[in-house]
Subunit: 226 residues, 2 copies
């Protein structure tokens, strides 16, 4: 039985959120990895790289794994009925419901984080509570069949964690070796607590427009009782 | 002045080799990142993700940074005159000549590694010597304006290293924070020495067809005096 894995893709997705775990999961035996979008045709990611969906919502097979990547393009998705309906429908039968980075906010907007421990990008972590989730620190956080990853590059750690679930640990280790995943960051600035106050303040400033928009959306969703 | 950065893309490229550093470098101020290919039109990567070139060899601007990603698709490139000519021409004026993973073999085939310290994917590392390079262990290896990265995921460490060169260390740290690059691999199997003999043997077996083909190409290039 082929394991069907679907990453949602949408305008201004953060492409590394999905290209990291895509590369890992596509190497798990007997998987088929889809890029699922509302419609076919090229999609520009947040930093410009163009992605090509492989299947539409309408044609998408029943997924064993649903994964929501993040990015600034998450904001409109949180109020997009067609996307939220697709997620809720697929979530009913999926073995794993997953996200990387701010993709978790879309799962939240679909009502799929209620009462669950979850994580997301550090700059959006506090917003999880608005969806009834239990915001939990961690690079990869698991609660039952919900697996959420932190910001962007956490997708690779998430992918390897899921690969071990879908196959076994030996398979995940073999993929890690193939991808020479023995990371050696040249700097230590990957978390708010290590980046230092100046870089953190500048990052918050750069993200402030997206953040304000996100807060307004969360407030609207709360008012509408979603 | 815009910094022009070009990643070569070709059939069966290992997409994470380039999507990792793409995401990093696209966030450096005043950069423009190109996916450069022989011709326009969709390109299937080694694991299936479809990439879309943004510019052809013929239309490509003079590049400040050339980056060769790797993948099994590297093999035909090593004997592809059009690709090697493009690289040699661009290398004359580029500020940085770079590669991730087995992309280094294409730089070698173009004669651009002669007498230089370089690295590549662990399974191809010994082949560098055939190109007159000095095979050097390291996640990111620098020799003058040549910067080479190790296998696949080393592209992110390479990208941050280069970001600090193109801008400054504060910029690179800010990008690292944005991408929450504080890796926490769930397993320790990213290098031959940590993966254990069984997983290493299986990985070598899986790569053996590509490896044999690669050895034959290297032998042909040596005979032709390239």
């Amino acid at each position: 039985m082929t394991i069907e894995i679907g990453f949602l893709v949408f305008p201004r997705v953060q492409q590394l959120d999905l290209t990291g775990p895509y590369e890992v999961l596509a190497m798990v035996p007997d998987t088929r990895v889809h890029l699922v979008a509302k419609e076919m045709g090229p999609i520009a990611s947040a930093t410009g790289l163009v992605l090509t969906p492989s299947v539409t919502f309408a044609e998408c097979p029943v997924l064993d794994v649903i994964c929501l990547p993040g990015g600034s393009g998450v904001n409109p998705l949180m109020e997009d009925a067609e996307t939220l309906d697709f997620l809720r429908r697929q979530a009913e039968s999926a073995r794993y419901l997953t996200s990387v980075c701010t993709g978790a906010l879309v799962l939240g907007a679909a009502g799929l984080l209620q009462g669950k421990r979850a994580t997301t990008h550090w700059a959006a972590h506090d917003l999880l509570a608005a969806f009834g989730a239990i915001p939990t620190q961690g690079r990869v956080v698991r609660d039952g069949n919900l697996i959420t990853g932190g910001g962007v590059t956490a997708g690779i750690d998430f992918g390897l964690t899921l690969a071990a679930e879908l196959a076994d640990e030996a398979t995940a280790r073999a993929i890690q070796l193939h991808q020479e995943y023995a990371p050696a960051p040249p700097f230590d600035a990957g978390r708010p607590e290590s980046a230092g106050p100046e870089i953190l303040a500048a990052a918050r400033e750069r993200l402030s427009a997206t953040r304000r928009e996100r807060e307004a959306i969360v407030a609207r969703l709360a008012r509408s009782g979603a």
